[in-house]
Each structure stands twice: as structure tokens, then as C-alpha cells.
């Protein structure tokens, strides 16, 4: 049998080739390069699935150094490019290539059929985006990950600003770029800190920085690391973890750097689906998963992650409640759902986080593509109050969108229920054993469940139910098969993807049926997964030298039922408020609270103020000091020289006799000095 790992690099390289091809020849290709993108992502998907199959049937983790980027001569640091394909990476590769494939397909309907111009640019960026994300996923060290992380940011900039002739998109693209770059700045410092501390940035292998760090802290092993600023070892590990977390918070749109994401809705809708479901935003959370063994060492970092995540989940959900544009609601729900993943990671629920990432990728891509179909049908009007009644006019979109919404709201038995339950359960289990911060996070998360169901079904009711409120909604534009096919695929997956880890009912089906857990623990592999397995992460989490979490064994049925009840409360609320043929805008009753929520808690204004009110005056003051202080000294030196030079040059009279006199006087003077010094007199 052919070993799939011989050409596993191609998973990312084929989309790269497609990028080059489309960039050069896109205008002459059929469908302006869409075909090449579809073929490339389809190929990546096939290889990824093959890899998954191989790992599931007892393959081995693939870890290979490919290319030495900067060679260190014994003392220095070696910078390498390499591949690491473990169960986590394989799963993520599959998700990314699947979503990218479907998004390419959907784009045929969304972009080509609508007669958009600039399609070569669109498909080239899309391919580059896919390449960057796939390469990021199988990076085997932090530096390589950082590079592709940045490339992902660049591509999102290009795609969000795709319609650069309008006013909104360029500014949104710039904002996305700058806000994420602000976080990435910390990430870069973190990468340097990791290299400086451990001398390597590898994720896996015998001498990965994660293992080194574990050995340093573990009393039964010995390890070495450099610490800086006189901090203790654990404190320094926390500092590094938080620095890297800066990049994660920026990319995964967590509070307070989430502001770029709702603005990013200015991009084409398929791009939004790609950004939100599989690339870009997922990159941040994936990075934490990739180096989870490292985060597990620092209880402080974990608490901060859990708190940020829980708070963001709740905070973003409140804003989603009042938005009127379809995509805005989805944008805030993305922020909120990534908050759940962060909550799970902070709360020690590695499996839960991966699970939620997987299901979220499916149902959020579905919802965005569904929204895209609705937007096409509505001739690019996104206001939900102009819709209504689309249910009977676009049944495929309605049913798939409904499945996605049920999954998002966490209704049994859709995918989102299982994963969200897993997130909350694992957080609760660790929180009940004396971790009050985790309980706070759990509280936020549970409250957000109600809000999630409420805003999701507000969206569904306003968009699809009731009577049509405008003429466009009366007679929407039909959508083609190329838009329906991705919707159906994702709709089916949203309904059934939960089966990979039915955690809530594990008492009935047994531990063995939790496939994702087994998968991440490396039980399907031939060899040992070692330090990358979920089991090892839990071992570290529960060690006293690391996070020191303890597990309170509670039946998963209780919290599962609670999550379901909370979701049903939200759903019931939405039914009660927005049912009927002419729903009233209930949210306006919130008055000033609504204004606050509509304006996103004035965080955008606050950030603008930070830039114009604080940073700009500071920069101006610094500029003034530079101009007058520093430059003044430099210029002063110059003008003193100029002035004295102007005076002294008068002695160059041009008369030879004067020069001779000066020479003679100089000689006499010299003689006199020698005489006086030598004591001749």
C-alpha cells in the first residue's frame, strides 16, 4: 500500500500551486480560477481524509524536519520548517480542507453567477488563504506556525477588503489587520521568548519546548531553561504562555480584541464562512491546542484563558441579541462560540474544545453559507427586518439553516449540543474541585447558552418565518445547485457530527464509544502519542507542579440536561417573542441598554479614542521631543561648527606673506612652549 505520508506536504502545497496558477492565468481559466481552487482543495480534502483514515487504522504520528531555515552551529538556535501530523492536526486539516472546498464551490454561485469582477484576485486569495491555514495546521514548530499565522492574517486582509471600491471594506480590512497585528506583536515576542528560554520552538519530538518545560517543573525529571528578569521558572512559563496568548486573543477575536470580527462582515459571505469556521479565527484556538501541554503547566494562564473565554462567550452573545443584520448576528455568535472553546481550554477540557471547534466549524460554515444564499436571494440586503417568509420560498436553505441554528443553539441531538455540553461539563468538573474562577467562567458560559438560543432563533424567525416584509422577500432570487450542495452536505453533518463524542450519555454507551476522545488520546495509533496525547495533557493538568486541577466526578447527565433546558428556555423565549406573521421588534423595549448593545458597548469608540486620544498625543509629544530635543542637539552642533567656520575662514586671505607670517608665528610659539616646558629659562 502506498504510504500516504510520502506526499502529505501536498495537502498545503497544492492550494499554493493553485494560487500561483490562478494569479498568473486566472483570467483565461474557466470560471476565472474557481475550478483550479475546487480541484486543489478537493485534493487536499481527499489526502486529509486518507491521513485520518490511516491514523484511525493504526498509523503513526508523522513528524519530519524538512528544511533548515537558519542553521545554528552547536551554540545557536536552529530554525526549521517541518511537518507534524498527529490526530489533532489531521482532524484540523480535514476540517479546513472540507470547509475550503465547500466555500470554493459555494463561491461559484455567490461570486461567478452574480457577475462579480476581480474574480482572479478572489480565487487567488482564497487559495492562498487555504494554503496558509493548512500549512499553519501542520507546522511542527512555533516559528513556522507564527509565519503562517501572519500569512493567514494577510489573506484575511485581502479578502475582507475584496470590494475595495466601496467605503466599508477597505476600512474593515485595515481594522482586521491592525487589531490582529496588535495581538501578533505579543505572539512574536512570545516566539522569541520561547527560543531564548528553551533554545527550540518544536512542538513535538524528544526535545520540544513543551517537554523541556514539563521536565523543568516536574520534580521527577530534570530539565534546563533560562529565565529572565529574575522570575521563577513557573512564573516565566506563565509569562511566555500569556505572550503567545496575545496572538490567540487577537486572531480568535476574544475580548478585548474582538472588535475586528464583526466589521470583517464587509467581505464576501463565502469568505466570512471560511474565516469564521475554519481559518483565521480558528487559528488562534488551534494554537492553544497545539501547545496545550505548555499551557497546562501554568494555572494562572489557564485561569486567564477560561475567564477571557467565558466572559467573551457571554459578552458577545448579548450584542448578538439586538443586531439587525443577518451576518452581524452570526459574527457575534462566532465570537461567542470561540469564547466557549477558550473556556474549555482554560477549564482543562482539551477534548471538549477540539470537539466544539469541529462542530462549530461545520455549523458556522453552514450558517454563513445559508446567510450567503439568503443575501443573494435578497439582492444583498442583509437587514432581517426586511426579510420574513423565506421558509416556503427557499426550502433547502431554510431546512439546512434550521439544522445549523439548532446546532448553534445546542439543542439535542444536533452537533452543537454534544460539544457545548462537553465544554461546560469539563469546565464544571474542574471548577467544582476548588477553582472558583472556572466556576465563574462556567456561569458565564451557561448564561450564554440561553442567549445563544434566543438570538439564534430570533434570527431564524425574522428571516424565514412570518409574512414577507418587503417585495424582495416576496419574490427572492433563486439559488443554484452550487450553493445548495454545500448547504446540504453541511446540514447533514450538523445534525450527525455529534456522534464522534456523545459525552453526555457515556454512561449508556460506554467510554469506548467516545471516538474523539480515543482519537486524541492516540488509542487508535500503532505507537504511543506520547506528550501530544489528551491523556498526557490531563496528567499534566492534574499534577501538583503544573495546573493542579482535580476532577470532581459527576454524572454528565445532569449538566447535559441543564444545558439543554437552558437552551430550550432561550428557544422558547424566541418562539414567544418572534412567532407570528408580524413579529414586533421587542428588543427596542430595552431602551438605552439596546443603544449600548447596538454600539457594541462603545468599545470601537474606546479603541478609536485609545488611538486618537491617547496614542496620537503621546506620539505627538514624542515627535516634539525628537524634533526639538534630539534634533536640536544635532542641529546645534552643526550650526556651532558652521558659525565658527564662517569666522575662521577669514584667515585664508590668499596673500602668501600672511601665511608665511602665520607659519613663523606658529614656529615661534611652539619654540616658546618647548622652552617653557623644558625649563630653558
Amino acid at each position: 500500500m502506498v504510504d500516504v505520508f510520502n506526499f502529505v506536504e501536498a495537502i498545503a502545497l497544492v492550494p499554493l500551486a493553485s494560487f500561483v496558477l490562478v494569479l498568473l492565468l486566472g483570467d483565461r481559466m474557466p470560471k476565472k480560477g474557481a475550478i483550479s481552487g475546487i480541484a486543489a482543495t478537493g485534493f487536499s480534502l481527499a489526502i486529509s481524509l486518507w491521513v485520518v483514515l490511516d491514523l484511525a487504522m493504526g498509523g503513526e504520528v508523522y513528524h519530519e524536519e524538512l528544511f533548515t531555515f537558519v542553521a545554528g552551529d552547536d551554540v545557536g538556535v536552529e530554525l526549521m520548517f517541518g511537518l507534524l501530523i498527529d490526530p489533532l492536526a489531521a482532524l484540523m486539516l480535514t476540517i479546513v480542507s472540507l470547509i475550503a472546498f465547500l466555500v470554493h464551490l459555494f463561491s461559484l454561485g455567490y461570486m461567478n453567477d452574480e457577475g462579480e469582477i476581480g474574480l482572479r484576485r478572489y480565487y487567488a486569495s482564497l487559495s492562498l488563504f487555504t494554503f496558509s491555514m493548512l500549512a499553519f495546521v501542520y507546522s511542527n514548530n512555533l516559528l513556522m506556525a507564527f509565519m503562517f499565522f501572519e500569512l493567514v492574517g494577510l489573506c484575511s486582509f485581502l479578502l475582507i477588503g475584496f470590494w475595495f471600491r466601496d467605503d466599508g471594506p477597505p476600512s474593515a480590512a485595515k481594522k482586521a489587520f491592525l487589531v490582529t497585528r496588535f495581538g501578533d506583536y505579543f505572539f512574536l515576542v512570545g516566539v522569541v521568548a520561547v527560543l531564548g528560554t528553551f533554545g527550540t520552538a518544536a512542538f513535538a519530538g524528544e526535545h520540544s519546548f513543551i517537554i523541556e518545560a514539563t521536565h523543568v517543573l516536574d520534580p521527577s525529571h530534570s530539565g534546563e531553561m533560562n529565565t529572565f528578569f529574575g522570575l521563577g521558572e513557573q512564573a516565566w512559563i506563565t509569562v511566555i504562555a500569556l505572550l503567545v496568548l496575545g496572538g490567540v486573543v487577537g486572531k480568535s477575536a476574544q475580548f478585548p480584541l474582538h472588535t475586528w470580527l464583526p466589521d470583517a462582515m464587509e467581505g464576501p459571505t463565502p469568505v466570512s464562512a471560511l474565516i469564521h469556521a475554519a481559518t483565521m479565527v480558528a487559528a488562534g484556538v488551534y494554537l492553544v491546542m497545539r501547545m496545550y501541554g505548555f499551557y497546562a503547566l501554568s494555572p494562572t494562564a489557564l485561569s486567564i484563558i477560561a475567564l477571557i473565554g467565558g466572559f467573551t462567550a457571554f459578552f458577545a452573545a448579548t450584542m448578538a441579541l439586538v443586531k439587525q443584520e443577518l451576518k452581524q448576528v452570526l459574527a457575534y455568535s462566532t465570537v461567542s462560540q470561540y469564547g466557549y472553546m477558550m473556556l474549555a481550554l482554560g477549564g482543562g477540557g482539551y477534548v471538549g474544545a477540539v470537539f466544539h471547534l469541529t462542530t462549530h466549524a461545520i455549523f458556522k460554515a453552514l450558517l454563513f453559507l445559508g446567510a450567503g444564499a439568503v443575501i443573494i436571494a435578497m439582492h444583498h440586503n442583509e437587514n432581517m427586518w426586511d426579510m420574513g417568509g423565506l421558509k416556503s420560498r427557499m426550502p433547502v436553505t431554510y431546512w439546512t439553516f434550521l439544522f445549523g441554528s439548532l446546532a448553534l443553539a445546542g439543542i439535542f441531538p444536533f452537533a452543537g449540543f454534544w460539544s457545548k455540553d462537553e465544554v461546560l461539563l469539563e469546565t464544571l468538573q474542574h471548577g467544582l474541585s476548588g477553582e472558583p474562577i472556572l466556576l465563574v467562567g462556567y456561569g458565564f458560559g451557561a448564561a450564554a447558552v440561553v442567549l445563544t438560543a434566543l438570538y439564534t432563533f430570533r434570527m431564524v424567525f425574522l428571516t424565514f418565518h412570518g409574512d414577507p416584509r418587503t417585495e424582495t422577500a416576496e419574490d427572492p432570487e433563486p439559488i443554484g445547485w452550487n450553493m445548495k450542495f454545500p448547504l446540504v452536505v453541511l446540514g447533514v453533518l450538523s445534525a450527525v457530527a455529534g456522534v464522534i463524542n456523545l459525552g453526555a450519555i457515556k454512561e449508556f454507551i460506554g467510554e469506548d464509544a467516545l471516538f474523539l476522545k480515543k482519537w486524541l488520546e492516540g488509542k487508535t495509533l500503532d505507537g504511543e502519542l506520547g506528550s501530544l496525547s489528551a491523556k498526557e495533557y490531563h496528567h499534566i493538568l492534574e499534577s501538583d507542579y503544573a495546573a493542579g486541577y482535580e476532577v470532581t466526578e459527576i454524572s454528565p447527565l445532569g449538566p447535559g440536561a441543564l444545558a439543554l433546558v437552558l437552551a430550550l428556555i432561550g428557544l422558547g423565549g424566541a418562539v414567544a417573542l418572534y412567532r407570528g406573521s408580524e413579529p414586533t421588534p421587542h428588543m427596542t423595549k430595552l431602551g438605552r441598554v439596546r443603544t449600548l448593545l447596538m454600539n457594541n458597548y462603545y468599545l470601537d469608540e474606546f479603541q478609536v479614542w485609545l488611538a486618537t486620544g491617547l496614542t496620537a498625543p503621546l506620539a505627538r509629544a514624542a515627535n516634539k521631543f525628537d524634533q526639538s530635543g534630539i534634533d536640536g542637539v544635532v542641529n546645534g552642533t552643526g550650526s556651532v561648527s558652521m558659525f565658527t567656520g564662517q569666522r575662521f575662514r577669514k584667515i585664508q586671505t590668499g596673500i602668501v606673506t600672511n601665511y608665511a607670517a602665520l607659519l613663523t608665528m606658529g614656529l615661534v610659539l611652539l619654540l616658546l612652549v618647548f622652552a617653557l616646558m623644558g625649563g630653558w629659562f
Partner: protein, 101 residues
């Protein structure tokens, strides 16, 4: 009869001073050239005098070099004076002041 060294040195010094005086007060470039010759020869007198005093020929050899140098200097100097005359129609050194600040 030997002449004491001091007398040579006094002679040399007075010739040197005469040369220096010439350089400082004369205006004609030819006088300049002559004054410079005087100063060079004052140095030569010193060299020869010390050579005689110490019974060492090195000084005299150096004096020969000095003479050769003086000859070369005159050749160049006369050339400069000719150019000076061509450009300024006289050889007054205080007139040729275009090379100043």
C-alpha cells in the same frame, strides 16, 4: 686654525633670519625665491658645520641632497612665477589673492 662651531651657527642663524625677513616683507615673487634659497642654505651651513665638528660625513651628504632639492625648487618656483606673470601681468605676490575664502 679652527673656527669654533658657534660662529658657524651664528652665521647660519643670521642667514636664516635674513631669508625669513625677506619672505615676510618682500612683494616680488623673485625675491621670495631668493629668500627661500637663503633659508635652505642656512640649513646646509648647519649640516656641514656639525659634520665637520663630529667628523661624520653624513651631514655633508645631506647638504648635497639639500642643494639638489634647492635646484629642483628653483626650477618649479621659476615656473610658478612665469605662470603668475602670465595671469596677473606682474609678479607681486600680494596681488594674486584669488585663492581665498
Amino acid at each position: 686654525m679652527t673656527v669654533p662651531l658657534e660662529l658657524y651657527l651664528v652665521l647660519s642663524a643670521s642667514v636664516f633670519c635674513a631669508g625669513l625677513f625677506g619672505i615676510l616683507v618682500r612683494q616680488s615673487a623673485l625675491h621670495f625665491l631668493m629668500a627661500v634659497e637663503l633659508m635652505l642654505n642656512a640649513a646646509n651651513i648647519n649640516l656641514v658645520a656639525f659634520s665637520l665638528e663630529h667628523g661624520n660625513l653624513t651631514g655633508q651628504v645631506f647638504a648635497l641632497f639639500g642643494l639638489a632639492l634647492a635646484a629642483a625648487e628653483v626650477a618649479i618656483g621659476i615656473g610658478i612665477i612665469l605662470v603668475l606673470n602670465r595671469n596677473f601681468d606682474n609678479i607681486d605676490v600680494t596681488d594674486a589673492v584669488t585663492m581665498r575664502w
